[in-house]
Symmetry: C2
Subunit: 572 residues, 2 copies
């Protein structure tokens, strides 16, 4: 259905300012030009401004462009014109020209295109998907039973054009909330979810929870849009809120914006479809056959949201297929503590964990005979946090309190030296660093273990913020001299910082704005946390004592006893 | 002057869909409710849909909210309603609900707030200023004489509230171009600068120039807005285009948007003031006394643009005052090659440079008795590129050609070992890295010079992209074994990559999207450049030969000849 036209052709008036040298009139006068041609227009102006018959005058735009017959026909409603004696005449007083400056629709369509930049040789596609998982975590936060987040990559050409679907069994959206979803930069802080003034459903901050695992990972009002327009060029939102029998559907696409622009229709006007669950008659089955079965799945569901992205960038399809293990592993890294709980995933102790009720499932379907790939993030056993947790023998917990109530929970883990090797985990996908090339030339004792890598990964509201790391703090940094613990022990620690939303992240959630600056401020207080209790202590002393303890208890060096000389055997 | 009201109260109609069980009507009918109360409305609906006297019906929103007397009064023009038999009744067919989803004005007002993140312990305020310098470079690109970019920090409270002014003597903006400036995400690629269809003034790509110093550093249509709303909360754009006697002025501010929202006025409607140069009567001299003298400076100027930012964030003011040298130095770093030309700033050879016609001047005025601070970026002698250029004894130039016509000019510089020390420059503001702590423990030969730092800084259209570095390429990386040049020579090289706009940067221009990924693609071809000529050679062999040559010619080791023993002197 065509939308409302931008220019209401029932109105066409220009606003003319009398800028002749003797004028003192500060406001313009509207001249209705609906049924006038150019000459009629000149007559109307002469009459309106009482221009004498022998008086020379000229009408120009505010850019001094003289209005002639050709330009007159193109004048739009509301245009400001100047009435002057001559085209170069100086303005006798200021004129006020009304302008419209609606943001261009690229605000939506290119919102994600230049946001998720590659780093350390890795594409950042997982972080675009993370925006959609963030939203699904928020939507499922009040689920009593299981929280299902289903990422389906439908790349079987025989089933239609490529599509990505993110489906959750969360609370869904009313048509009002779906309308709000579409409003760029309308954040939870700003919007009013009620339809009428009597509905006061503003945002209230959740109570603090350990590791800030609050499922409240929204801040800017842009993430979902940025993600879908980074991954593809069109999104169909389908949602059913609990307590209503209706499903609401809304499409936003580059193609649709371009069409509206071309037809001079209102750009930010659209249509929400309200329907019964399971109704797929409006879908073009030839173009999007998968949609029909997706819609049929709706029947019987109390509430859900499906984000259906099409027009997927070809290079993303290639990447998602070729590097399935790598990017699903990274998603497991980002949501490690949501999936496994506050203690994390210790492979050595499967019984110790409380089962999490968050199921994040990724499936990739390709054309036969390729088999579908399926993974539940809980099953991933080689993401970095799993590797850290599973090789950790001791944990040092602390808290950093910065100004306001900005607080960070922190922990350090010890990865001991066992007999013949360091157990500090390596990242199998990491680019070889410059350090690796030096092994043969360098007799440095700390080339192994952590090496020059930063100690701390950083999490925000419980999810990883991938491109911000903190190298160390003064109190846990290798001392320059006078160390009471062997220096290599400093290479056996990894750490995690868990920040809440009193710390800002960048709009694309790839970096913190100033986490390190704030934590390294002299006002920041570090306290040790033991059994959940904060202790005001000298943190450096406590840490060094802990490190020494770890070294003495957990590092296992092979001791050679009673060396007796070298023998050679020829039979081996 | 109040703006146009958002809701045209001359219209108030609701769009009612007949959703009674037997209905097959797919379109809604508009019911005019202008002069109706609730009961009148029910009567009108009954009549319109021929509802029988004894038939029960209910009217709801698309969210199943029953319309009662209280809600009826709040219904706005264009609202979609459902006519149902009962409030829980299933929809017999889909309804199409028209919605508006204008981007929230935070799209502008918070466009910069979470963009310029700190890194390596440094605030990123210089990079926000860089957006404004980018724009000024573009505006002055066609100047025949000097190109002046004036950054004035007016922090003298006795002269009014704090303000930042960026003033250039570039081509200025017509009122149409100023209107376009205000349209978020309207890029040079998309906009039409002409007022009428006959003006075809689209974008044409400039011819390639060395180091891509093309002054065409705009891409997204957001930088200027992001910068001003990162630095402050209000901006006044003042501009005079060449060829017109008029000055055009436009204000965009957080306060103004909030007022429009509160008064239910059109959000993206504003006023451009058109006036004679030097006219300051519209300015509130009590609030912004500096504006009066700024406006008076206009007289006699052919063209200019002034960006006047107020509502400066207090923490920025503190930073700008306290770290003046540091952040102006970083600006000199970013624009090094614009200010000094392709060869850069060699302090050893002042006569060798061609004088640049770009004057980027920063001035900071504080309250008496503090003296004003003033610097021309050309005078800065300790930005990193100056330090690299001035300690370089030899240059290896190359080119990397990726797919399409994406080409990068590159160079490597050799910083020799002279007698007792490395000359590879240190960054006086850099945070001590973990490496520094190891000096005493580590006998690594390459702990000095470049160390683990990346080789290449990266520039885009001639300006620095600060947070993307490239460690090395295979052909100039330290070999693991069999090096024909001493390994420490690899620590004596620094490099620069100059990319054109075939390589994408992130929207905030802090990082490249995928420069390293593209350059390390196996299709990328590296060629050596000698005297401006590309040579298809084995680049690694050429580089190693050059490195060896540098070592033999330029590294000066102290040689001890005829060692004769140790003596001790007690008189020193
Ligand atoms: N899966 C979903 N289920 C329910 N509501 C959703 C879902 N996804 C998005 N929404 C709604 O749409 C709004 C906009 O989402 P979007 O991700 O664009 O911004 P945001 O989450 O508010 O903020 P951020 O920019 O930090 O992501 C959300 O705040 C939420 O109310
Ligand atoms: N100092 C100036 N002089 C003349 N025109 C300017 C000036 N500053 C901005 N403009 C105009 O306003 C437009 C918008 O500027 P803005 O920086 O917001 O976006 P952009 O430069 O087009 O793209 P980018 O996001 O890469 O900066 C510019 O393209 C230019 O036409
Ligand atoms: Mg979100
Ligand atoms: Mg710009």
């Amino acid at each position: 259905t065509p939308g409302p036209e931008k220019s209401d052709h029932s109105q066409r008036g220009v606003c003319v300012f009398d800028c002749r040298p003797k004028s003192t009139e500060a406001t313009g006068r509207v001249i209705d030009i609906r049924n006038l041609d150019y000459n009629g227009f000149l007559k109307a102006v002469s009459k309106e401004f009482s221009i004498a018959r022998n008086e020379t005058f000229v009408l120009t735009t505010t850019d001094r462009r003289e209005i002639g017959t050709d330009i007159f026909d193109q004048l739009e409603d509301g245009k400001t014109l100047h009435l002057l004696h001559s085209v170069d005449q100086v303005l006798p007083m200021a004129t006020q020209e009304r302008i419209e400056y609606l943001p261009h629709y690229h605000t939506l369509v290119q919102s994600g295109m230049y946001e998720y930049y590659a780093s350390e040789g890795q594409k950042s596609l997982p972080y675009a998907f993370a925006e959609l998982i963030d939203n699904a975590l928020s939507a499922t936060a009040d689920n009593t039973g299981v929280r299902t987040i289903d990422i389906r990559l439908l790349f079987d050409e025989s089933q239609g054009k490529p599509a990505v679907v993110v489906l959750d069994n969360g609370r869904g959206m009313t048509s009002k909330q779906l309308n709000n979803w579409a409003v760029y930069r309308l954040s939870k802080f700003t919007r009013d979810n009620g339809t009428f003034q009597s509905d006061h459903t503003g945002y209230s901050r959740p109570n603090p929870v350990p590791r800030s695992l609050n499922s409240d990972i929204s801040y800017f009002g842009v993430g979902g849009k940025q993600a879908v327009f980074y991954i593809g060029q069109s999104v169909r939102m389908i949602s059913k809120p609990a307590g209503s029998p209706d499903v609401h559907e809304f499409v936003m696409s580059k193609e649709d914006f371009e069409r509206k622009e071309k037809n001079k229709e209102e750009i930010y006007s659209g249509v929400i479809l309200n329907r019964n669950p399971g109704v797929w008659s409006h879908v073009n089955s030839a173009e999007e056959p998968f949609l029909q079965s997706l819609i049929q799945e709706e029947v019987g569901k109390e509430s859900f949201t499906a984000v259906v992205i099409t027009g997927i960038q070809p290079e993303h399809i290639t990447y998602l297929k070729q590097h399935f293990s790598m990017w699903t592993r990274e998603l497991a890294h980002i949501y490690h503590y949501y999936v496994h709980g506050v203690t994390g995933n210790d492979l050595r102790d499967p019984s110790g964990k409380s089962p999490s009720n968050i199921d994040i499932q990724i499936s990739l379907v390709e054309k036969s005979p390729r088999l579908p790939r399926l993974v539940n993030l809980r099953e991933v056993d080689n993401d970095m946090q799993t590797l850290y947790v599973s090789s950790s023998v001791a944990v040092f917990e602390f808290k950093a309190s910065a100004e306001g109530d900005a607080a960070v929970e922190g922990l350090l883990r010890y990865h001991p030296f066992l007999y013949d090797r360091e157990t500090y985990p390596e990242d199998p996908y990491a680019m070889p660093g410059p350090a690796d090339d030096d092994d043969e030339e360098c007799v440095v004792l700390n080339a192994e273990g952590r090496g020059k890598r930063p100690i701390f990964e950083c999490f925000w509201n419980g999810r990883l913020i991938p491109y911000t790391t903190v190298s160390e703090f003064e109190w846990c940094a290798r001392p320059k001299k006078g160390a009471s613990v062997p220096l290599e022990c400093y290479n056996r620690i990894s750490g995690v910082l868990f920040a809440n939303d009193r710390f800002q992240v960048s709009t694309n959630k790839l970096t913190f704005m100033d986490l390190e600056l704030k934590l390294k401020d002299k006002e920041t207080i570090f306290t040790r946390v033991v059994n959940g209790q904060e202790q005001r202590v000298k943190i450096q002393r406590e840490f060094v004592a802990w490190l020494k303890d770890c070294h003495e208890h957990f590092d296992k060096q092979v001791k050679f006893m009673g060396f007796q000389g070298v023998t050679s055997r020829s039979d081996v």
